[in-house]
């Protein structure tokens, strides 16, 4: 019990509750001091409560302690291992500065958030089984789809953070990330943010989707501002995570690891981090502006002012401005989600084909090309917003051009498979499944890119199908590939191969049925984000299939989690390099010791020279010798 109350997570949660109450008290006390009636104003109380609650969590969990000590001149040496007198498992529930612990924390919290988001999806999928409203009000339904969107996005960002934090320092032979405290901060800030998003569903919900378009978002219920605040807070994690990764990759590699000798996943992580660091500010700004417009009546985004705004002589604004700010992040965000997953595909294919990665430089540069082009296409989400043709056309070309670096990846993957000696354990199945699913996403993109056809597809179920294909192909399937692939490295044990294959063979057809159903429903004229649909559209059978498929996917994921949990506790001990990989992390024991590399790493060959007898990628050499 004493251990329990000392856990950072428990203290953080307590801090969040106290901080929230303090914020609410502050607002109510201020209103009392100025004689406002009524004393309780829900929106400012929840907004200030949400802010101070987040701060309270970070203080409680202990993420700010070291920085506070620095401020008053105290030394804070990095402590390795579990705190004195506590067992190893407690590290995962408290601030710990090891990137391997933080990587696991990201991944586990990401899976928890993923389950919450997936649960919401099954709820509204059941509602969509038949026309008419059966189980929810339309408001409740709108809250469910809105929450599903943002919660899944935060789950994906957490999963991306997990893969990058765990793998990149190992792959470049670094002892840790460049800024371990910032790294821990970047993870822990997600916890109060996730809790705020979940709370938002229960304090009135909101009905704007995850896109929060004003003016609707300015009128939506109380869940709205908590959602904006949660979104904003997740963004902080992305920014500091991206910064940390870039500094790590560019300053902590061994001198012998030139850019074109980095493992390919590191390239993908760099692409993702550039986007996270440079684009996230705009969506954070947009969310803050919504909060300010709601609470202070500043008319940033609405030309039709309410009476309070008119009384304050607030100048009218423009709803389309918000869309620019929003999509300047939220389109690149798609590449934040998928680049690491595509990196996983490129990383794993050579291992299971026993062949060099085909066109390494082309794949590496295509990640950077996608990241760069990703900044130039945001307005394709706004093709129907009323922009003139002169503004729409450049965005159409930029969007179509992204097919080129993406195509380079596909063809290079095929080139890697060609002439290999392929084996198909679970991670390889997920890689091949990812390629097939991402291909669907790639092929359903261009009809939405050419404006003429987008005028039909925009805001239809086609779009829903398209982005689920890109997220499943670019994140979910590669994420599970990575989970199975590095499971022996992280836990030191073997997962159950039969259960892994069952997971795959349920999830792949389940996903194909689901997303092709969504594509078809969109073509038949079904709008996205509708609580109820017109039976005359002829989409009801499709909806039934999508719902069944969603439950199959959910079942498959539970099988996967069962496999991970049971195998981690009691399965056979794994060898240190079961896949015969050349990558640095497989050259050290499993599970990885506290100090990953006993000796400094030196790159002595190409990363993917499978099939070249006698060659290795890295060697561990005593400092001063070699390099």
């Amino acid at each position: 019990m004493r251990t329990f109350s000392q856990l950072g997570l428990v203290r953080g949660l307590l801090g969040q509750v106290l901080g929230t109450l303090l914020g609410m008290g502050l607002v109510t006390g201020t209103r009392a001091a100025f004689g406002y009636d009524p004393l309780w104003a829900a929106e400012p109380a929840w907004v200030i409560g949400g802010l101070l609650g987040t701060l309270g969590f970070m203080v409680g969990v202990g993420s700010l302690t070291d920085w506070a000590k620095w401020a008053i001149g105290l030394e804070t040496p990095i402590h390795h291992g579990a705190p004195a007198g506590q067992s190893e498992w407690t590290r995962y529930f408290a601030v710990d500065l090891s990137h391997k612990v933080i990587g696991v924390q990201y991944t586990v919290w990401g899976i928890f958030v993923l389950l919450v988001g997936g649960f919401l999806a099954t709820l509204f999928r059941v509602e969509l089984l038949q026309p008419g409203m059966q189980y929810f009000t339309t408001d409740r339904y709108n809250t469910l789809i809105s929450a599903h969107g943002i919660i899944m996005i935060s789950a994906i960002l957490l999963g991306v953070g997990g893969m990058i934090n765990y793998l990149v320092p190992l792959m470049i032979g670094a002892s840790d990330m460049a800024f371990p405290r910032l790294n821990a901060f970047g993870f822990w800030i997600n916890v109060p943010a996730s809790l705020m998003l979940i709370t938002a569903m229960f304090v009135g919900g909101w009905d704007t989707g995850w896109t929060a378009y004003p003016p609707n978002s300015l009128r939506t219920a109380l869940g709205g501002p908590l959602f904006f605040l949660g979104f904003y807070t997740i963004g902080i994690s992305s920014i500091v995570g991206g910064l940390n990764l870039l500094v790590t990759v560019f300053t902590m590699r061994p001198a012998s690891m030139t850019l074109f000798r980095m493992p390919i996943f590191v390239w993908a992580a760099v692409g993702t981090s550039v986007l996270q660091l440079l684009a996230t500010q705009l969506v954070g700004l947009a969310m803050l502006m919504l909060i300010v417009e709601r609470s202070l009546q500043m008319g940033f985004f609405t030309p039709v002012l309410n009476e309070a705004a008119i009384a304050l002589n607030s100048p009218p604004g423009d709803p389309v401005l918000f869309q620019h700010l929003f999509w300047f992040y939220s389109h690149p965000a798609v590449y934040v989600f998928v680049l690491p997953g595509l990196g996983i595909i490129s990383e794993l294919l050579p291992v299971f084909a026993r062949k060099p990665l085909f066109g390494y430089k082309w794949i590496a540069l295509s990640s950077i090309g996608i990241a760069f082009l990703g900044f130039l296409v945001w307005a394709h989400h706004m093709f129907t917003s009323g922009m003139s043709n002169y503004l729409r056309l450049p965005f159409m070309y930029a969007t179509l051009i992204i097919a080129v670096p993406t195509g380079v990846k596909f063809f290079s993957w095929l080139g890697t498979l060609w002439g290999g000696k392929l084996t198909y354990p679970t991670p390889m199945l997920f890689v091949l499944g990812a390629i097939s699913v991402f291909l669907l996403g790639g092929l359903t993109g261009p009809p939405a890119a050419t404006i003429t056809t987008d005028l039909y597809l925009h805001d239809s179920y086609w779009v829903v199908g398209h982005f689920h294909q890109t997220f499943f192909g670019g994140f979910m399937f590669p994420f599970f590939a990575a989970m199975y692939y590095w499971f022996p490295k992280v836990t030191g044990r073997k997962y159950n191969e039969a259960l892994g294959k069952l997971h795959f063979w349920l999830m792949l057809p389940g996903f194909w049925v689901m997303s092709l159903g969504q594509i078809w429903a969109g073509l038949l004229g079904m709008r996205r984000r509708i609580a109820d649909y017109d039976p005359a559209l002829g989409v009801q059978n499709i909806q039934v299939w999508i719902t069944i498929a969603a439950f199959v996917i959910a079942l498959s994921i539970f099988i996967g989690l069962y496999n991970f949990i049971v195998s981690a506790r009691s399965a056979e001990v794994a060898e240190s390099n079961p896949w015969r990989s050349r990558s640095p992390e497989w050259q050290i024991p499993s599970p990885i010791p506290e100090h990953s590399f006993a000796l400094p790493l030196a790159v002595v060959g190409e990363p993917y020279d499978y099939g070249l007898p006698g060659s290795v990628y890295v060697r561990m050499v005593p400092a001063g010798a070699g390099d």
Binding site: V320, T384, L417, W418, G420, P446
Partner: protein, 336 residues
């Protein structure tokens, strides 16, 4: 190169199979606009390309998965090939040419579907949570149903009174957002007689899924008949009494004359018509048409007892036409 022939044959075969499969499905509701023909043509082109690229990648992947699988007992490595500059160059440049070509087609078709027509008719589509209203400015009426004459180019001026909405009739193919503070334009030439459904395609709150309006594309004769009927209904609404009620507000009568019998600055209009009036000079009269006309153009000539003189402007005779004065009198008659 022994794989080249089987792979090529399989890719070609799969392409035709997938293309035929896409063709055989009922994919979209039947098109009902001139612009939609262009949209559907481009969809057809996309579907062919999708069939080819899907087959290309999936066939090569499945072929490799089968042919290059590790045989039992084989413990060797795969071919030691790092890549091919030629191949990478080809699969960079050829897709680039294809996407630029699609960009070009996308440009020309967009110009076609957004082109203004010389004989287009404007209809204002006004959206609010959660209903549509259509103003026909040329004929001066508004309607909750959207009637359109077949073959007539229409320019929809889209307005939003509260939050974002979007105008979409799937059979017309094209859509556009309605944005508060802006007027977005959407051009549609309906070319098939029938009944359709206009839906809001931008999440707009509680009843978003039910924000619809009936759309009826009819023959030009039927359209003229409908317009004539709406104009007649509008005219029926446009009575002297109704016009007088509007003048009561616009001319400021409302400021001094109540409708509910309460005493304000001037006498109430409730029960005024036909009632005897007592004046400050002791005379009396019945408030008939002639009396009310005189009260409006020359109010000081007969000030009702209990009310001050010189309050009502003396120039209503100049401000108002005789028609308008008669409309006001007609309105007063209805206030009983």
């Amino acid at each position: 190169m022994k794989h080249f022939l089987p792979v090529t044959v399989l890719v070609v075969f799969a392409t035709f199979l997938v293309a035929a499969g896409i063709d055989s499905l009922h994919l979209m509701p039947e098109n009902a606009s001139v612009q939609g023909e262009t949209v559907d043509w481009l969809f057809g082109l996309h579907f062919k390309l999708i069939a080819f690229l899907f087959s290309l990648v999936i066939v090569i992947m499945v072929y490799a998965v089968v042919v290059f699988r590790r045989r039992a007992g084989d413990d060797g490595e795969g071919m030691h090939i790092h890549g091919s500059g030629t191949l990478e160059f080809i699969w960079t440049v050829v897709p680039a040419i294809i996407v630029v070509f699609f960009g070009y087609i996308g440009t020309t078709t967009l110009i076609t579907v957004t082109a203004a027509q010389p004989d287009e008719v404007a209809i204002e589509a006004v959206s609010r949570q959660w209903a549509w209203n259509f103003n026909y400015p040329d004929d001066g009426f508004s309607s909750e149903e959207l009637y359109l004459p077949v073959g007539q180019p229409i320019r929809f001026d889209l307005k939003a009174m509260d939050v974002l909405h979007a105008f979409w009739v799937p059979e017309f193919r094209v859509k556009a957002d309605a944005v508060p503070g802006r007027t977005n334009v959407l051009r549609i030439t309906p070319n098939r007689i029938g009944e359709y459904n206009l839906v809001c395609a931008e999440l707009c709150g509680t009843r978003h899924s039910y924000m619809m309006a009936p759309v009826k594309v009819v023959s030009r004769e039927a359209y003229s008949a409908w317009v004539a009927q709406k104009v007649a209904e509008e005219a029926a609404k446009n009575t002297p009494e109704a016009r007088g009620a509007a003048l009561y507000i616009s001319q400021g009568c409302k400021g001094c004359h109540s409708l509910d019998g309460s005493k304000v600055v001037g006498p109430t209009w409730k029960g005024l018509y036909g009632a005897p009036q007592e004046h400050t000079d002791g005379t009396t009269a019945i408030a008939d048409d002639e009396y009310l006309y005189n009260s409006i153009v020359n109010p000081n000539s007969q000030v009702v007892a209990g009310y001050p003189a010189n309050v009502m402007p003396q120039n209503y005779g100049d401000l108002l036409t005789d028609d308008n004065i008669n409309n006001i009198i007609a309105y007063i008659k209805t206030i009983k």
